[in-house]
């Protein structure tokens, strides 16, 4: 008996990428599960000189594997949704391409770090921040569950909302600063130093070293 199976589920690769326009070298990639519906995620397209492109086709067979070629700065994305290729970086663009990759991943990792903080601090999808819930409804639940007075329930609600807003405001400010400043930095070293400072500032325990995508061994 033949098992019915969708070929798209087993052979299709879907990669979003940012590409350096003058040479088509791939600067940043994100491989997504297929089908890619409902992906709604910020990508570092605010870094200048980059085009957004998609690869969608069979598992690419370029060089020593598409991701290895990407790490070696050899992956290029010609036009055509199923096309991927390799080419050495032109000497005159080496510094520029390395800087762009450092900027993209520094910014992306800052977002991942703040997302981790949002999860840890219980801000992700916290119903207290949902505009559909009224203060009156929330206070009534506090009053019943914690067996406290109406006044105490209102006070607790104000405190919790203030706390969530304080945390979100601070994390969003860090993100805003990072995405404003990182594109203005002019060397890989400046990006790496600033990125490491941000990781210290956010007291991050995530080992997100830029060297992973810059100096692949």
């Amino acid at each position: 008996m033949t098992t019915l199976r969708s070929p798209a589920l087993t052979t299709t690769t879907y990669i979003r990428m940012l590409v350096f326009n003058p040479t088509q070298h791939v600067i940043w990639v994100s491989k997504e599960a297929y089908p890619p519906q409902n992906i709604l995620r910020r990508i570092p397209s605010s870094i200048p000189d980059l085009d957004f492109k998609i690869y969608h086709g069979p598992t690419p067979s370029v060089g020593e594997g598409w991701y290895n070629e990407f790490l070696k700065f050899n992956l290029v994305k010609p036009d055509g949704i199923e096309n991927l290729d390799t080419a050495p970086m032109p000497t005159e663009f080496v510094d520029r391409i390395r800087l762009l990759r450092a900027q993209c991943y520094a910014l992306y990792n800052v977002w991942r770090t703040t997302a981790g903080q949002i999860e840890k601090m219980d801000m992700h999808e916290n119903p207290l921040l949902d505009s559909h819930l009224s203060d009156k409804d929330i206070a009534e639940i506090y009053q019943q569950v914690y067996n406290i007075s109406h006044e105490s329930a209102k006070k607790l609600l104000i405190f919790k909302k203030d706390e969530l807003n304080f945390r979100i405001r601070n994390l969003k400010l860090v993100e805003f600063e990072a995405e404003t400043k990182i594109p203005e930095l002019t060397t890989v070293q400046e990006v790496d130093d600033y990125y490491r400072q941000l990781m210290i500032r956010l007291i991050s325990l995530q080992p997100l070293e830029l060297s992973v995508v810059l100096d692949h061994k």
Binding site: I148, S149, E151, F159, E163, D193, I203
Partner: protein
Amino acid sequence: MKKLQFFNTFNTSYTPGSFRDYYKTIYGTGPCPVDRFNLLKDIDPQQLEFNNIVPAPVYSLKNLPQGSSEEWRERYFSLFEQVATDVYNKAQGKKIAVMYSGGIDSTSALIALMKHPKFKYFLDSGNFVVSMATTSIREYPKFFYERILPTIPIIPADYNALMCDPSVLVVTGDSGDYVIGNTDTPVFFYEGSTDILYRPKEILWPYLNSIDKTGKFVHFFKEICKRAPFEIYSVNQAYWWIGQAFVHQGEMHYPFVWSNIQDLKEVATFNKVYRWFLSQPFMTFSFEYASVNPYYTDFNSVRRFPKEYIVNYSGDKEYMNKIKIFSQRQLYREIRKTRVYEDGSWEFTLDKIPT
């Protein structure tokens, strides 16, 4: 070269040229501390030297009660009222903001302030608030819902706002974990039991060697114990001494480095941040009590005195079984300064050796 008062030990790397890398060659991969008493004799002062600001302990080791005596408990309880009076005196004309984690230390300090005759005056005049996080509630819900919420204004723990407001005196329970023993003492089995605090300190050596196989961490411990103010016999005393020597100076700086406050002249004083358990009465108690090598078994047992102080007020006997929750890990904080120098200047920089 300017002496350091503080440098960030969090998220440091072993990059060549960093102090962390240099420290590893001498004392291994253990935590790289701020050295309160300049005990680390192997460190080249050209590489790193600290300006010490933790108040010098004043103590006498003569005619002390035995370690198991009830006199120590009574003396410990009496310190709270004494320190509360000092806080209210320092807070004249200011608003008191108690940093409340819900843990044993901040709860006991808050209770002492609530019991004090001046509490009502400060509260009624709008000059008493509790600064906390939602996780603070989970530590001791009954106390929060019955004692704090109906009575005292509560605000989110925002170090930046509090530290940059000159009208606020911040009160913290920081360093309370190190008054009696040290709650960072590791838990490991020795002869089938984790009740190790009263055991001879020498049982630590194989454990420490299992963490750092170079032997450098043990070397660190042995060297430090030699320089204690009295003979160190037990595991409890050894870790107490580590806490005294290497924790307090860093903790004194935290509210200043977690905020954008520019003027750091009050780091060494208690005028802006009152560190309850670094006050002289608790410091004196800590040294004198540790010197008699009091009998303790595990790290929960060293929290008995402060828990009893809380239960005496709240009447919640079940509180004695409270386990430690690291609720402060879910407190929102940002590191804004990575180095503070003796002249009050500071930097936000990576961990290279200062030049």
